[in-house]
Symmetry: C2
Subunit: 550 residues, 2 copies
Amino acid sequence: MNILFIMYDQLRFDYLSCAGHPHLQTPNFDRVAAMGVRFTNTYVQSPICGASRMCFYTGRYASSHGAQWNGFPLRVGEQTLGDHLRKLGMGCWLIGKTHMKADAEGMARLGLAPDSEIGARQAECGFDAWIRDDGLWAYGPDGYYDEKRSPYNEYLKQKGYDGENPWADYANAGITDDQIASGWMFRNADQPANIREEDSETPWLTSETIAFMDQTKAPWCAHVSFIKPHWPYIVPAPYHNMFGKNHVPAATRHPAEREDAHPVYGAYMENKIAVAFQREEVREKVIPAYMGLIKQCDDQLGRLLDHLEATDALKDTMIVLTSDHGDYLGDHWLGEKDLFHEPSVKIPLIIYDPRSTADSTCGTTCDALVESIDLAATFVEAAGGTVPDHIIEGRSLLPWLQGHTPDWRQYAISEYDYSATPQAAKLGVAPRDARLFMVFDGRFKLMHAEGGFRPMLFDLQTDPDEFHDLAKGDAHQDKVDRLYDYLAQWGRRMSQRVTRSDQDILNMRGKSIRRGILPFLYDGTEVDDELTEKYRGPVRQRFSAEDEAP
Amino acid sequence: MNILFIMYDQLRFDYLSCAGHPHLQTPNFDRVAAMGVRFTNTYVQSPICGASRMCFYTGRYASSHGAQWNGFPLRVGEQTLGDHLRKLGMGCWLIGKTHMKADAEGMARLGLAPDSEIGARQAECGFDAWIRDDGLWAYGPDGYYDEKRSPYNEYLKQKGYDGENPWADYANAGITDDQIASGWMFRNADQPANIREEDSETPWLTSETIAFMDQTKAPWCAHVSFIKPHWPYIVPAPYHNMFGKNHVPAATRHPAEREDAHPVYGAYMENKIAVAFQREEVREKVIPAYMGLIKQCDDQLGRLLDHLEATDALKDTMIVLTSDHGDYLGDHWLGEKDLFHEPSVKIPLIIYDPRSTADSTCGTTCDALVESIDLAATFVEAAGGTVPDHIIEGRSLLPWLQGHTPDWRQYAISEYDYSATPQAAKLGVAPRDARLFMVFDGRFKLMHAEGGFRPMLFDLQTDPDEFHDLAKGDAHQDKVDRLYDYLAQWGRRMSQRVTRSDQDILNMRGKSIRRGILPFLYDGTEVDDELTEKYRGPVRQRFSAEDEAP
């Protein structure tokens, strides 16, 4: 079996027709959902691209792998999907974005050459790169945000798009008055991107994926990782005007949220992107473009599915559709992601397992509390392995896919490290204290902030929109305490004992005694003679001073 | 300045005359104490050789580095003293024991050859090995406990001691009735070891240390790491009969400890070594030998100090005397170490800083709550560096040595992983739950055991002997809660963000905006023109479908 592990970037859980979106039809997402299981309670372990992805790829919490924000390198030696799957004979490939920064200092310290196979895999998050393009070719007075090479820009140049950065000038810009109308400016979000639709990012990566599938020896796991619908919010025709103002839902927000807001939440509500999304004209420009981008993703997914069908490969390809986090889009007075409200931390997850063992769940939904780290475990098990649970902290979803009801976690954890952000500066929080934790038990959601702040608490049963912070009074101290107990338990988890499995340890028990470690004998009669045999025998030479004395 | 970092193995904090031992005179330890500071509240981060040492060498908690028990490999890439000190131009050497197991699997995964310089340092815990000898050449029906080469055994053979394992047959055995009387059997602990005193382990390693100092280019940090007074408890003449029954203190134990004992403590009280040490004749044999071993260590320390004096090196050598954990010796009905009573988890620590900045504290004691991981930080600072506190979790002791009173930690943490022991099997505890945590605030000491057990609590002010477990009732729930809060706080510590320092993060703040990441613009007027310059300009080519339409 192959695994087609498709990730969209910044795709909200609720912007799919199978998830109930009132205006956006996504028949191809729905087609996979109809063949598989849609997991309706799936949470990322950090609502930010880089950190979230490192959780997906390692199967470990952000605090466990340490790459807790964009651009924090994943330390050398940290094991990823590639390490686990290749051991099982499955290739592990990257097509698209990872947002992984290599630990160049660590690699140098260990003498790993970036151009060796091992070095390259370390630098590519464990993947063999079919094509890596992180999709954000922003540039400014200090240069490119991402200094790597952009295969997508190379593709565009080859196709006749001119200039240094056609990603910015064509794929992510329209035209106004003969001027480049950059997608970086929300005002332009309703313009068609000045690019042939088939050359835009999502079709380009889809074509690469089809080429990959046609040319690569099975079994493989392919991480197909689209940059869209992530900003810049702009999409080529005909997607740019498929949706309009009348398709923009009212923002999920409430004046109560601004009253005595938690200081960290308050700082986020005042940041530039939040302030922008608090303007209705921004939402009315952006959301139709966002929907258009998703519609394009859906159409391109259709291309992939059709190709799988045409090559008779659907029957041995597991398909996974997910996202690295959501997008506030003005909900809760916020833009972007970062915090733990549902539009940010909850993701879509649809898994189609082609095997007959999963037939019974075909077309169902599952509301188990799923963490994104569960996918790494799922893939290892799908590839025929046993989950190395001393390394991978997630849990295989195969039992759910097979219609079982395994004992399951009581709570999901997410983390956010905002140490490098203006909000930390504004709050005067030291880098090591600028960390947030979410604990969600399926009903109550606690946010803990290091640095002496009070927590936040929401009851998603009585307040599904998360407007009312119950931690403001002490009427709900019992829930706060319970969720803090979960967080404490999680904090004590065994996350770094990665060089010994539980089975290794069981095998060690009692072994040292047969290798002569016997620090409990009075005279040796306590154990079988065999164990002390090496310590007995006639004296061969005398050196003892006692004996040398006259 | 050089650093002479001397570790004894299993040396109790209270078996020194400067620490008040009533019978054992240790004038050379006292001599260093008189030149420096004796830290009277120093705790190891895990009371077991291997794990404790990995904490010393990495400056990190056991849960952070993951090598949580003897023989659990320290994972490849984990940074140690050698990484930190060599960057500062200081060599970092090993003379003796580390009890470190290399992560051979991880090294192979990263393609590190064990015989390369980088590979060898990975395998030697970051040290350059002047001589490595882990000091436990036990052997039994299944072979050697330690399959490495033993330089000490090679030395003995060269000196004419015959057989496969003269460490066992001579250095750690006496003679009874012309038979080898192994030091593994407590009955033989009062025999003189059948070896010339100068060939025994402590003098041998001391001679190696002197040779090292004479031949090595400064500045260096030398980890001189003696196996003694660790078992087998046997010592050559004249040390074997310097102490007798009358020097053996009554065991610090109380019948109350056996009443409704905590299940984990109860299991330890029933293990083979505890049962042995509950016999008075074992204590009467072992403790005089243990004292003789320490007396020999003290004499050999005198040799080192005399050599430093003779070579005028005292003035630029920092001297550190410590141990990796203690020894119950029958206290609390236990033998060995493992748990968190003072005789096990508390260690001696004496630091002499030759610089004039430390003159004011010369000959004093300091009762700050010190953790063994503080030494790594101390050494980095002593070598002129800034402590990389995103990696090293300990704190420099230099302020204390210089007579300052820095803001200091509120609690010390220690951990114990007993997953590979018979106690875990007996209690039916899964490997991942067989973990204990100590939280000590200087007065109250909590032991938390994973796996659903109750905690233990001692008040060292009213009950310095730790006889009365206050967690049995709920009269002290407030203290239990407070210490659990500390443990939870510690559990959330930032321990794996090792690829980015706080300063790196402060330097990152606000940088992406100047690299074109601007996801908050409505029309571009929000920022200086410079920031959007790359996103503007005349359209050069038209691809937009809108424009192509007739």
